[in-house]
Amino acid sequence: MDITFILISVAKIIGLVFLTILPMVAYSVWAERRVSALIQDRVGPNRVGIPFTKIRLAGLGQPIADGIKFLLKEDFTPSHVRKGYYWLAPALTMVPALLTCAVLPFGSELFGIKMVIADLSVGPLFIFAIASLSVYGIVLAGWASNSKYPFLGGVRSSSQMISYEISLGLSIVPILMIFGQLNLSDIVMEQARNGWALLPLWGDRLSLKGFLLFIPIFISFVIFTTSMFAETNRLPFDLPECETELVAGYHTEYSSMKFALFFLGEYAAMIIGSGLAVTLFLGGWSLPFGWLVPEDGASVPFWMGALHILSFLGKVVAFILFFIWVRWSLPRFRYDQLMRLGWVFFFEIALFNILLTAGILLFVK
C-alpha cells in the first residue's frame, strides 16, 4: 500500500464522486423538473442563471440555488422522534448510494491509470451488497420518526427493496454467465471487443449464438431496469412515498438538509443504477462498433481515454433521461400489484431466463 496508490485513489474518488456524481445528482434534479415540465406542456425552472445579471442559462443555476436553500432552511427535529437514529438515517441512505460507484469502470485509462476506483473481482456482488445496506436508512427513518405515515412508508419500502433485490440479482446472472466474469472492467473490455450485450453487431457476437443470446439478454435487461426502478423507489414504484396515501412516506418528518439527503440519495442511487445498467448491458465506456478499442498492454492516448469517459457519462445521462421519461409517463402501481409483479412474474422469468441462457451456451456452438 504505497503512497502513490493512495493518492491516485483519492484523486479518482474526488474526481468521480465529488466532481462528477454529486453535480450530476444536482443536475438530474434539474433535468427531472425541466423534462417533466416539457412532457406536461409547461416550462419548468428556466430562470436562475448567474446571480445579479440577466443571464439565465435556461435555469442551470437552479440546483445551486436549491442547495443553498436546503442548507439555510431551519433544520427542525420533532420532539417525538428517536434522536440518534433520526439523525443517522439520512446519512445511511446517501452513503451506500455513493459507495457503490467504487467498482464502476467509468473509463478505460487516463495517463496509464485504470479509470475505476477499486478493480474488484466481485464487482456486481459488491454493488448489490452495498446497495442492500441502503434499506437501513429507510427503515430507520420510518421507525425513528415515530409517527404513522413514515412508519408505513418505511415498512413498504423495505419489503419492496428486499423483494426486488432478488429479481435484480437474478436478472444479471445470464450476463455474468455469458461473459464468465464478475470483474466489471473485464466485462466492459469484452463488450468493447465483441459487441455490447444489447448490440451484438460486431466481433465474436456477430453470429448465430450472439443473436440467440440476445433474447435472454433482452429479457434480463427489461427485468433489471424495472427492478432498478423499484429499488430506487422511483415512479411507477414509488409506493414508499406515495403522496396520495402516505403524505411523503419515510421522510415526512424530515426537513432542511436531512430531507435533501434522502432526496439526493434517491438520485445518487438512480445514477449508480444507470451506471451499472450501462456497464452490464450497453458496453460501459466503450464506443459502438468496436471503434477505438484499446489494445492489450498498449497505452491509451489521453484523448481516447477522455473520449471513453465521455462515452460512459453520455450513456449514463441517456439512461437517466429514460428514468425521468418513464417516471412522468406511467401511473403508480398498487401495492399488491407491485409485489405480485416482483414475486410472481419477475422472479420466475429471471429463473427461467438463466436456464435459457445456460441452454444456449451449452448447445449452440
Binding site: V35, A37, L38, I39, Q40, D41, R42, V43, W325, V326, W328, S329, L330
Partner: protein, 176 residues
Amino acid sequence: MAIVVKRPKLSFWEKLYLPGIIKGLGITLRHFFLSLTGKTKVSMQYPEEKWDSHLPEYYRGAPALVTDEQGRERCVACQLCEFICPPRAITIHPEEIPSEDKWAKVEKRPQEFEIDMIRCIYCGLCEEVCPEQAIFLRKEYAFTGLKREDMVHNKKRLYEIGGVREGLVNKWNELK
C-alpha cells in the same frame, strides 16, 4: 342495492401491460418534443410578458378612490364600505368639511382612508355598496412591500391609483 360492475375482460396483450406502457411513453415523448421545439403553447412568462394591455374593462384589481371631473373627492366617508368589507381591510377616519370649502354642503369627507392590501380579497363589495360611486376596483394588481406597513394603501396612494373617473352620476354638482 349494490351495483355490480363487471370487470372488463382483458386480452392477452392488454394483460401484458407492455403495449400500454409503450403507447404511454410514446404520448409523453410526443409532448416532450413538441414542447422542446416550441410548438406547444405555454403560459405567459409573467414578469416579462404581462397581460396588462389585454385587461378587460371590468377587471377587478385593487380597490381605489376616485375623483370626479372637478377634482372633488367623491367619498363622503359614510363608512358603508368599511362596514361591508368581509376581511375588514378598510379603515376610515371621517372629518367634517369646513364651511369655507367649496363643497361644504357635502359635509363629510375622509380625513384618512386606509385599505390593507394584505387583507383585501378583491371581492368588489366596497364598489358594490358605495352610494357615491367613490371606490372602484382598478386594474393595478401587483403590489409588493418589504414591511406590513408598505402594504397599507393610504388616501394619497388610493387617489393615485384611482385617478379621475368621468361620466358618473354627479349628485353634488351645481350644474345638475
